[in-house]
């Protein structure tokens, strides 16, 4: 007799699985659609090219870090330090660049190098000292904030002319920064779907012990993913420099919470092993469009916080999450 004779038919389950896994994403995009409809009907300036490109560019600032955050969360980790790292990256890049075109490359290298370093330190503490990612990056959040203040408590450095222009450059009607975000989205999808590293992220997040016993190089995977996440923060620091022209330590606090919110709204599980790039994009857009609409519609300032809170709670609560 065949071993499989008594097994249920796997195919029919496929559709249920699809719905279960993609429910949050469908929900988020439905939500976004609703907001867009509200925007179009209630404000004549919402659906203009100008505002849409504006929203697209703004989304990149949250979105790029959210992609890094999503990868870390996929491995059942978390990175609370991204906000502070964005802050330090802005300062470092501004100081190194110091307004000179010739310093752009050194500044980029220094900033990305900083990202790599911070990621490696996270990896080290998590891998070698076996400290929970939450704690490692919580400590790192506090320490990097201190480092930022030590570097400078007031605005320093300066972006070069080209870097400042980069912010407003467009390819077609779309800002370069939005293109960058788009390219990173595609790359992340490819990474998750078609590379061994991507699969290892799932394995480590799904069951780290099993991954270890199966010979997955879990340390390397975790070093890698924390470096990637810190790199997205460093890149965002550079983008902020281009946005502001100077290094201002006032920027960066709270980004970690926003990215985590966006990632979770998008259906990625905080328990690890499950992630969705499109979902994360949806989460980012939902937060971005909400903020944009609050300004566009001139919503009474006193209830803005309430509305934001309601939207976040509704977004995470409407779809019953799969518990572990």
């Amino acid at each position: 007799m065949n071993l499989g004779a008594s097994l249920f038919d796997g195919k029919s389950k496929g559709r249920a699985v699809f719905l279960r896994r993609n429910g949050p994403i469908i929900m988020v995009y439905a939500f976004i659609l609703l907001l867009v409809i509200i925007g179009i009907t209630q404000s004549e300036r919402f659906f203009t090219e100008r505002n849409l490109t504006n929203v697209a560019r703004q989304s990149a600032f949250l979105g790029i870090v959210a992609l890094g955050q999503m990868l870390v969360i996929l491995t059942a980790g978390i990175d609370l330090s991204v906000g502070s790292l964005v802050k330090v990256s802005i300062l470092v890049s501004a100081i190194v660049m110091n307004g000179e075109s010739g310093n752009v490359l050194p500044a980029i290298i220094a900033t990305l190098g900083l990202g790599v370093l911070v990621g490696l330190i996270h990896g080290f503490l998590i891998n070698e000292l076996r400290i929970a990612p939450f704690i490692v990056t919580l400590a790192s959040l506090v320490i990097l904030r201190g480092v930022g203040l030590t570097i400078s408590s007031s605005p320093v450095g300066k972006a070069s002319r080209e870097v400042m222009m980069f912010y407003v450059q467009k390819i077609g009607p779309v800002p370069v920064i939005a293109w960058m975000f788009f390219v990173l989205i595609v790359l992340t999808m490819l990474l998750l779907r078609y590379t061994v590293f991507g699969k290892y992220l799932y394995a480590v997040g799904g069951n780290i012990e099993v991954a270890r016993l199966s010979g997955v190089p879990i340390k390397a995977v975790r070093y890698g993913v924390y470096v990637l996440c810190s790199l997205t923060a460093a890149v965002t620091g550079l983008l902020w420099l281009s946005r502001m022209g100077v290094g201002d330590p006032a920027i960066g606090d709270g980004i970690e919470l926003q990215t985590i919110t966006a990632v979770i709204i998008g259906g990625t599980s905080l328990f690890g092993g499950r992630a969705s790039v499109l979902g994360t994009l949806g989460g980012v857009l939902l937060l971005g469009i909400t903020a944009n609409l609050l300004v566009m519609l001139g919503v009474n300032q006193f209830i803005q916080g309430l509305i934001q809170g309601l939207i976040i709670v509704a977004a995470v609560a409407l779809y019953k999450q799969e518990g572990d």
């Binding site: 505002n51 605005p155 502001m244 980004i255």
Partner: protein, 362 residues
Amino acid sequence: AQDDDGDMLGFEFTDEQIEASPYLQSVLSRLDETYDTSDFAKDGPYRIALAAQGTSNAWSALFDAHANWYVEHLGEDVVAELLYGDAQASADIQVPQVEDLLAQEPDALILVPMGAAALSAPVERAMMQGVPVVLCASAVETDNFVTEVGTNLWVVGASLAQYVVDQLGGEGNVAFMTGIPGVTTSDIMEEGAQAVFDANPGINILDKQPGFWSPADAKGIMETWLVQYGDEIDGIWSGGAQMSQGIISAYLDAGLDIPPIGGGEWQNGFLRLALEHDIKYLAWQYPNAMITMCIDAALQILAGEPIARFIDFSGVIPNSEPFTDVEGADYFREEWSDDVHGPITMPDEKLAELGFTTMDDG
């Protein structure tokens, strides 16, 4: 008693001090500059964007209330629409918000910058887009804006320090509590104060810590200072009224005599405490009513009239000069709730409507 402290801009700078402070240079140079606004001239009614600090505390709530009241007061044929951005006191939120506001193509932008550097580029982009920018209450790094309405914060910090020095007769120990490190307003006041203390060798700064403009943080630090230095502290410099409240509270708990405080504001709660406990202080002012001047400035620009590049509210808004405990009682208003910052230029009913007076519930 300190009549010479009354007029802040009468503060004497040394050349070195000016040289050391880009802020001072910028303010002093802009004082006698005017901006040719003819490019911005257009017919009303106007759509004006206001990127405000937002509903983060009573000061900014009253700021917004003044703005709304004043726009209403001017009428729809002057300002057709006031586009509003609530930055929740955060530069991170404000930068994209300014972008959102500019996407609506307003006729002018009034900005209460939440970070001098962070908002510089957005300000430049607004100007590039042809939207004139009025900075309200604080400055940005770039010079590319039309005008700033505010006061010389360096001088504010310096005057408060000078008050402490004078009270101590030039000799004694000072505890130095700054606001939030990295926030421009706080940093510049600190810079001015430090310059004065540096110029007085008899002054010994015991310790300098940030109180984060929070009564709780200020009180926590003051408590520790008190157990460490006790009555060695001869004078206190404080960067804000909320912190002064925390400081006073720590003294009251410890049962020690309160030394003179350079630092307070026309904030009703602070005045109440100070009056009750007979505290010597110098208060500076940062009236939220200055938004009316900012709106006036925007209208002046849109009318194409030349405008001064630095507009000091001190003396323009009634009762907005610094004052000391000697006049304190004249400023205190029994019916206001604790967190009202004076002076108020809108009608009393408005204030009551917003729940800022406590007359009805006794």
